[in-house]
Point group: C2
Chain length 335, copies 2
C-alpha cells in the first residue's frame, strides 16, 4: 500500500482523497492549550504506551515520532503531505505523532485536542477510512479513558467538534465547475446545509489547482454514519455536476489548455509552486478526460514539488533555487 498521493485513484478520479479525523481527549488531563510541560510529557507517554503495550499486529504497524527530532523542513513536508496541521508543525513544545508506515494513519498528540486521529486515503472510500480510524479509536480507548458525556458525546476543546469529534472530508478536483463559475453558488448552498468547502490545505487556505475539500460541519446530534452518508451524497452530487460541466467544455480549447500545461511542465527551467499547481491541475483534467494519454501521476507531482517536500528531497534552499530545482524535478517526473 502506497501513500495516498501516489495511489492511482488520486491521479485520475475527481475525488482525489478522503480523510477522517476524530478529536479525542483524555479524562483528567487539561486541554493542550492549558497544559504544563509535565502534562504534555504525561500525555505523550500515555499515548505511546497505549500503542506499544497493546502489542497487536496492528499496533506494531504504528510508530511514535517525537516531533522535536524532526527538522523544520521535514515537519512542513508532513503538512504538505496532509499528515499534520500547520499549527502542529509550528509547535515548539514537546509533542509527538503516531504514524503508520504508509502514512494513511496519523495521530497528532497535543494539537488542539489531546488526540487527533486521522486516516487519509486516495479516492472516495470514506467507509474504509472511517473503519480504520475507528479501529485506532478502539485500540486507544481500551487503555486511555476518553472524556465523554452521555448528552454531549466526546468532549473537545472547540465546541464545533463536540459530539462525534468527527470531521470527514473529501478532496475534489472541480476545474470545470470552477471554469463555469458554478462552484461559487454550490459552495453557498452546501454551507447552508451543514458542510464546508475549503481549499487544498484546509481552513483559510485558497483553492489551488481547482482542488476543494468538502467536509461535514455538524458533529452534535448526528451519528457518525449519518454524517458520512450525508457527505457522500453531497460529494456524489458535486462529482456528477463536475462531469456534466466537463461535457460542456470546448474540446479543442480544452486539449489546447491541457497539452500546453504538459508542454510547460516538461520544459520550464523556472517553475514557481503556484504555477506548477495550476498546470498540474490542467494535466490532471486532461488525464481524467482521456485527452492526455501519457503515463503520469499529477497528484504525486503536485505534492512532491511543494516547497518543503522539494527541500526534503534536495536540501534547504531559497525560493529562487527552489523554482529551478522544482522545474528540474517536474521535468524528470514527466519524462
Amino acid at each position: 500500500m502506497s501513500r495516498w498521493y501516489i495511489d492511482k485513484a488520486a491521479q485520475n478520479d475527481i475525488a482525489v482523497s478522503c480523510r477522517i479525523r476524530l478529536a479525542r481527549n483524555i479524562e483528567g488531563l487539561p486541554f493542550p492549550n492549558r497544559m504544563t510541560a509535565d502534562d504534555r510529557r504525561e500525555l505523550n507517554n500515555r499515548v505511546k504506551d497505549a500503542i506499544l503495550n497493546s502489542n497487536t499486529p496492528f499496533s506494531k504497524s504504528l510508530k511514535y515520532i517525537n516531533m522535536c527530532d524532526i527538522p523544520e523542513i521535514q515537519r512542513y513536508a508532513m503538512v504538505e503531505r496532509h499528515i499534520i496541521s500547520p499549527e502542529f508543525a509550528a509547535k515548539t513544545e514537546e509533542c509527538g505523532i503516531i504514524l503508520s508506515q504508509d502514512e494513511s494513519i496519523s495521530i497528532m498528540i497535543g494539537e488542539e485536542d489531546h488526540l487527533r486521529i486521522q486516516v487519509i486515503n486516495a479516492g472516495l472510500d470514506l467507509k474504509k477510512a472511517y473503519d480504520l480510524a475507528e479501529s485506532v479509536d478502539t485500540l486507544l480507548c481500551d487503555t486511555l479513558h476518553f472524556a465523554f458525556n452521555k448528552d454531549l458525546g466526546y468532549l473537545t476543546e472547540c465546541p464545533t467538534n463536540l459530539g462525534t469529534g468527527l470531521r470527514a472530508s473529501v478532496m475534489l478536483h472541480l476545474p470545470a465547475l470552477e471554469n463555469s463559475g458554478e462552484i461559487n453558488g454550490l459552495i453557498d448552498s452546501i454551507s447552508k446545509i451543514g458542510f464546508t468547502v475549503r481549499g487544498m490545505y484546509g481552513e483559510g487556505s485558497k483553492s489551488l489547482a481547482s482542488l476543494y475539500q468538502v467536509s461535514n460541519q455538524i458533529t452534535l446530534g448526528i451519528s457518525e454514519n449519518s454524517a458520512l452518508e450525508n457527505l457522500l451524497v453531497i460529494t456524489t452530487q458535486l462529482i456528477e455536476k463536475e462531469k456534466q460541466a466537463r461535457q460542456n467544455l470546448d474540446i479543442i480549447k480544452l486539449e489546447d489548455i491541457c497539452w500546453r500545461a504538459m508542454g510547460t511542465l516538461q520544459n520550464a527551467r523556472i517553475l514557481s509552486s503556484e504555477e506548477m499547481i495550476n498546470l498540474i491541475s490542467r494535466v490532471k483534467l486532461g488525464k481524467s478526460m482521456g485527452i492526455i494519454n501519457k503515463e503520469c501521476s499529477p497528484i504525486k507531482i503536485l505534492i512532491e514539488a511543494q516547497p518543503f517536500m522539494l527541500m526534503q528531497a534536495k536540501g534547504a534552499m531559497d525560493a529562487a533555487d527552489r523554482d529551478t530545482s522544482r522545474a528540474a524535478m517536474v521535468r524528470e517526473l514527466l519524462l
Copy 2:
C-alpha cells in the same frame, strides 16, 4: 540548393537572410502606373522573350509565371516567402514574374518599376546575392534597353531609387537588443546615416519575432560596391552588439524562456500566427545560443506556418481552423 528559409544558415545565424533588389525600367515605355493594358502586355512579352531567347543554361533555369494563373492563396504565400511584394500580389492587371527554381531569383514585371530584380539568400553573403542579381541584370540589358541617364544613373518611378536602383537588405534576428531596449537607439542612429530598419515584411510592417530588415536608403551618388560595403559594416556592428547583449542575458531565465517556447510549440492545439512567430523567435535564439540542441528549423517553420503558406499546403480555411491546423503543422515539424 534549397529555398532561403529552409537553408541551414537561416536557422542558426543572427543574419537570417540577405536580399538584393535592382529597380530597372525600359526606355520608351511609360512607367507601370501610367501603362495601358497593351503597354503591360508588351512589357511582359519583352521581358519573357529576353529571358527565353537568350538561351543560356542560366536563362533556362528561369521560368515565366503569369500571375493571372496563380490563385490568391498562392500569391500571398509568395509574399510570405518574400518572393513578391504585397502590392504586386494585390494587382488585378495582367502581370508576371520570372522565377528561378529555388526561388532565390525573382523578377516582378510591372510592379512600381518595369522590373524589380530580386535575389534572396540565407545568411549574410551580400556579395554572392549581388553578383547573381548583376548577372540577371546583364542578361536582360543585352536585349532590353534600360532607361539610364549619365548623371542620374538608372531612372526609376520613385526618386528614392534613382541612381543604382539598388536596395540591399539584411534580415537580422535581434532579440537581445530588443530585450535590452538598445534596439530603438540603434535604429535612430542608423537612420541618420542613410539606412532604414524595418519589420520582417518590409515597409510599414511591425517587427515580429525580433526580426529586423536593415537596408541602404541612398541610391544616388554612391556606387553599388560602396552601398554594399556600408551595409555590411552596419550589419556586422549590429551583429556584434547583439552578441554582446546576449552575453548579458540571465542564462537560467533564458533557458526557461526558450524551452517553454519549445514546449508550447510542441504541445499547443490552437496557435495563432502571432504567438507562433513570438515562440519561434525564442526557439531560434535558444538554438543559436546552444541552449536548444534539438534538430529543428525555426525559420522554415516561421515561414511555412504563415497563414497563406499554411492554406497553400492544407487548403483554404477560416482563421479559427488555421489556428488548429497551424498547431498541428508545427507539432509535426517539431516532432
